[in-house]
């Protein structure tokens, strides 16, 4: 118990092996009117101290639900199974009182929409101080000092004046920085950032990412960065995990996965990004839509949309196997074929089949010409 108490205090290395978090077979299910939604299916990964892990995927891939699960922030109706080890403590099934000591302290979270993530009726300083006083026995003055300190760290000008203001007096980017401040005020071991830049303008995005990068450099905290924006990943992450239909489909270092993707979905994601050398040509999307999490097709969940799909893909779901090098794993029966294919053409062929239907008929005069 004493070891656990120490565990939840700020910034300590939780485990001798340098592992901040160890997740094994994490699954989350929700019962609904239409059936059981299997939002997260058997996720396993390790998070090391000081590393930045990017979790990438479409909406509905399970990336947010998995991190809410390990914080214990899902509704009571959710069924969570598996193991999440934070240092030596098992988070799944941990009683609420103990879990509360971890939240905001050992593991902190930054949410997506800064416009609605702060309580509108209390000042920013009050809310930050509350986060600090929840885990440290200090008086208001001491808490306030810490609040000003952390506001300065995230780059908010005139922190003493700003702390007395209400959230509606802050811009979107500033509010997100306040959220970051709230996350780091207790020197957490792990910071989970759930799409921190999605709701912001591109210019503000860059500023927020700078702040996150600064965090990475200055603290020993591990960061889990959830995003659907691959550009954000390359700027800041060490490792990346691609999620689809509730499970991991590829994982490895950013360099490896981005240059030698071995799962068709990853290839599709990467080729759908507009690049400088593809200016003037059509973008290649991945046709179709993600499967329903209630009634999933048998076999690989990506097979309906995969250009390399075979009979065995449609009958059994592949396991996450090591490809090429250690630490690079992909969930595909035919990853070697993926290795051999030209990524740029893999999805283009499929996308090309009905391009002709969309091109204008050269025989007909245009209705409107803008010159």
């Amino acid at each position: 118990m004493a070891a656990e108490a120490e565990l939840f205090s700020s910034g300590e290395q939780p485990s001798a092996s340098g592992l901040a978090l160890s997740v094994r077979d994490l699954s989350v299910e929700f019962p609904t009117e239409d059936g059981t939604v299997r939002a997260v299916r058997d996720i396993s990964f390790d998070l090391h101290a000081g590393e930045v892990l990017a979790v990438v995927g479409e909406s509905g891939s399970g990336k947010s639900v998995s991190s809410l699960a390990l914080m214990g922030l899902l509704p009571k109706t959710a069924k969570i199974t598996g193991s999440v080890k934070f240092g030596d403590a098992e988070l799944i099934g941990m009683p609420e009182k103990q879990l509360r000591k971890v939240r905001g302290n050992g593991i902190a979270m930054i949410f997506q929409d800064p416009m609605t993530s702060l309580n509108p009726v209390y000042t920013v300083g009050w809310q930050l101080a509350e986060a600090y006083q929840a885990h440290h026995k200090v008086n208001r003055k001491q808490a306030w000092t810490r609040v000003l300190e952390v506001l300065e760290t995230v780059g908010i000008p005139q922190p003493d004046r700003r702390a007395k203001q209400y959230p509606f007096e802050f811009s979107g980017g500033m509010r997100q920085r306040v959220m970051i401040a709230m996350a780091v005020i207790n020197d957490p071991t792990i910071i989970i950032a759930d799409e921190p830049t999605t709701a912001l303008d591109v210019t503000v995005q860059a500023q927020v990412l700078d702040t996150l990068r600064q965090l990475r450099d200055e603290t020993s905290a591990a960061i889990i960065l959830i995003t659907h924006d691959l550009g954000v990943v390359t700027g800041i992450a060490d490792r990346v995990q691609v999620m689809y239909a509730g499970t991991m489909v590829e994982t490895g270092t950013v360099h490896t996965v981005f240059t030698r993707a071995r799962m068709p979905y990853t290839v599709g994601l990467l080729s759908s990004i507009p690049r400088a050398d593809t200016v003037g040509t059509r973008l290649t999307p991945i046709k179709g839509a993600p499967p329903s999490l209630i009634k999933m097709p048998p076999g690989c969940p990506f097979s309906p949309r995969c250009p390399l799909t075979r009979a065995d893909c449609q009958s059994a779901e592949p396991g996450l196997v090591t490809v090429d090098e250690i630490d690079h794993r992909a969930r595909c029966w035919h990853w070697d074929e993926v290795a051999a294919a030209d990524p740029r053409l893999l999805f283009a062929a499929a996308a090309a089949t009905d391009i002709d239907d969309v091109l204008p008929d050269p025989e007909v005069d245009p209705e409107l010409v803008i010159e």
Partner: protein
């Protein structure tokens, strides 16, 4: 803040003026209060009736054209002269003391009932929302449904019967009858302070419960809905993620935000609270505002009805103002200028 209050008061004065004119027209529409008596006079005394009738009209101030009448009444009203009863069959009575006396009786009922209804309704609504679908929630929901379905006078009648039964039990056990179910004590409350409080509660308990019942149901329902909305908000998730206790999240973070719409609803329902008081008083036989109203509408007394409407209007405006100020205290996003 002071500027805002001043501005509101000015607008209110204008509104009251317009309202007074509308009320005046309304009372006009009611018809001639003296007509019936005049017809009777003509029958009994066909020759000398005209002089008496003309005198009656003049005394009542009803012999001048509409606008003159309005102006006379208005100037009188704002200087404290609220007129008298006009029915020639009885001695004219001053309007102001009657209205003020009945107002005193009624306002204590309305205020207590509303305040209790809001306070209890808010707390119960919060608990109901937090423990959604629990037995507490179901019982409360059933209760609110019942309260919405029962007309107020029905609740009043039921409470009255209950009160009589309760008194019977007390009497059977050798004690004095305590709950007063018929009539407000004309002499007020007497005796020592403790004794007065005892009597006060005996008189006010049942009517207050009656008036509270529906308001309480309404407020708890609203608070529950509002709380459920708030509990689903992102900032509540943030609060949980900070690691603070659930109790604190509910009462410090959610409650204050959930209270805001309740203030709006509360200020809107002050009007119906007065209406409810009228009905309650009728059932319990009080001679408060309600009794005054019914009696004087039937007698077509113009000045009594006018005074009644103006007094109610002033109170509603006052309560709305208080509600607006409360609104700004709760929500910093509302700026008063």
């Amino acid at each position: 803040m002071a500027r805002y209050v001043l501005r509101r008061l000015l607008v209110s004065v204008v509104l009251l003026l317009v309202a007074s004119f509308v009320c005046f027209l309304l009372v006009q529409a009611l018809g001639d209060p003296i007509a019936e008596w005049a017809a009777g006079q003509r029958q009994r005394n066909p020759n000398g009736a005209d002089a008496a009738i003309a005198a009656a009209y003049q005394r009542a101030g009803l012999d001048t054209p509409l606008l003159t009448r309005y102006w006379t009444w208005l100037t009188g009203f704002v200087t404290g002269d609220w007129g008298t009863t006009v029915n020639p069959g009885q001695t004219p009575q001053e309007v102001q003391p009657k209205i003020m006396h009945s107002l005193w009786i009624t306002i204590r009922l309305v205020l207590t009932a509303e305040l209790l209804a809001i306070a209890l309704g808010a707390v119960v609504g919060v608990i109901s929302a937090v423990k959604r679908y629990s037995w507490f929630d179901y019982v409360l929901t059933a209760f609110t449904f019942l309260m919405f379905a029962l007309p107020l006078f029905c609740i009043a009648v039921l409470l009255k019967i209950g009160g009589i039964q309760f008194n019977n039990v007390l009497q059977a056990n050798g004690m004095d009858r305590w709950l007063v179910t018929a009539g407000y004590p004309p002499g007020g409350f007497t005796g020592s302070f403790g004794n007065q409080v005892y009597q006060y509660i005996g008189v006010y308990l049942l009517p207050t419960l009656c008036l509270m019942a529906i308001s309480f149901a309404l407020y708890s329902r609203y608070e529950r809905a509002s709380m459920l909305d708030v509990l689903g908000a992102d900032y509540i998730r943030t609060a949980h993620a900070k690691g603070i206790s659930s109790k604190r999240v509910i009462w410090k973070h959610a409650f204050r935000n959930a209270l805001i719409p309740l203030v709006t609803v509360g200020s809107l329902s002050i009007g119906s609270a007065f209406a409810g008081a009228i009905i309650t008083e009728t059932v319990f036989g009080w001679q408060g505002m309600g009794y005054i109203l019914v009696q004087n509408v039937n007698r077509k007394e113009p000045y009594m009805i006018l005074a009644f409407m103006m007094v109610t209007a002033v109170f509603i405006i006052l309560f709305n103002l208080i509600a607006d100020i409360a609104y700004t205290l709760l929500d910093p996003r509302i700026r008063l200028d």
